[in-house]
């Protein structure tokens, strides 16, 4: 994943497949970056995510819980239609702002 920090905003560009197998590694990298940068806004960018199941929901929910401790906000950006659908199913739109990607 690629990480970009600008002032109070930390952007994490997730890549590849987010499932049970890959979620643990992603979680550790994101948490490490958040703990180091202490952002007031965490943006998870999904433009290069090719697949996600509910393990990805768990990943997002876990990050949200951690951010709550510092009052930081969470944004999910460039969600594909299928990923947007599963996030909405899980009610993630109540926890984070969600933006769809541009249809290619």
């Amino acid at each position: 994943m690629k990480i970009n920090s600008t002032g109070e905003v930390l952007t994490v560009y997730l890549q590849g497949e987010i499932d049970h197998h890959s979620a643990k590694g992603m979680r550790e990298e994101i948490d490490s970056a958040v703990n180091f940068n202490m952002p007031s806004l965490l943006i998870l960018d999904f433009s290069e995510v090719t697949f996600m199941d509910s393990s990805g929901i768990g990943l997002v929910m876990g990050r949200f819980k951690n951010l709550q401790k510092s009052g930081a906000k969470l944004n999910l950006s460039n969600l594909s239609d299928s990923i947007y659908k599963i996030m909405k199913l899980a009610g993630i739109d109540r926890l984070a702002t969600m933006d769809k990607g541009v249809t290619k």
Binding site: E17, K24, F51, D53, S54, G58, S82
Partner: protein, 144 residues
């Protein structure tokens, strides 16, 4: 579409979750699914197979038995079976957000399967294992 079938037995290693969903998706392509239909099938298979890794065989690697069939009405039937610890209360396990898997598990695997497939049936026996059977009818395209 003619009847067709395949069987795949794999160890419940997490690296096989991707392999399982791609294999079932590849088999489903003979029904000419839409991108959304394939995505729904891949995600549902991923949920069921992950349940085997995380819940059925929590402390060891067991075998996941996958059977896929093309049945009448352009329908794919996917059976994912394990010989793991079994589910004590299937109804409770299928409730959205219920999980025995700890903090980072969303408890939404069954909810996703129910949403993305036309039907799902779960049978289980404690100490014996669990079988998840899902069906999805693939829309027939009108080719001009």
């Amino acid at each position: 579409m003619e009847h067709n079938k395949f069987t795949l037995n794999i160890p419940s290693k997490s690296c096989n979750e991707s392999f399982a969903r791609v294999t079932v998706a590849a088999f489903a392509t003979q029904l000419d699914p839409t991108v959304e239909e394939i995505s729904d099938i891949k995600t549902s298979v991923s949920e069921a197979v992950t349940n085997c890794s995380v819940h059925a065989y929590p402390d060891k690697i067991g075998t996941i038995y996958i059977t896929c069939e093309i049945i009448k009405d352009n329908t794919i039937k996917i059976k994912i079976r394990d010989r793991g610890c079994g589910i004590e209360d299937v109804k409770q396990a299928m409730q959205p957000l219920f999980t025995t898997g700890g903090e980072e598990r969303a408890g939404l695997g069954f909810a996703v399967m129910e949403s993305m497939m036309d039907s799902i049936r779960v049978t289980s026996r404690l100490g014996k294992g669990t079988t998840v059977t899902m069906k999805k009818k693939i829309s027939v395209k009108n080719n001009d």
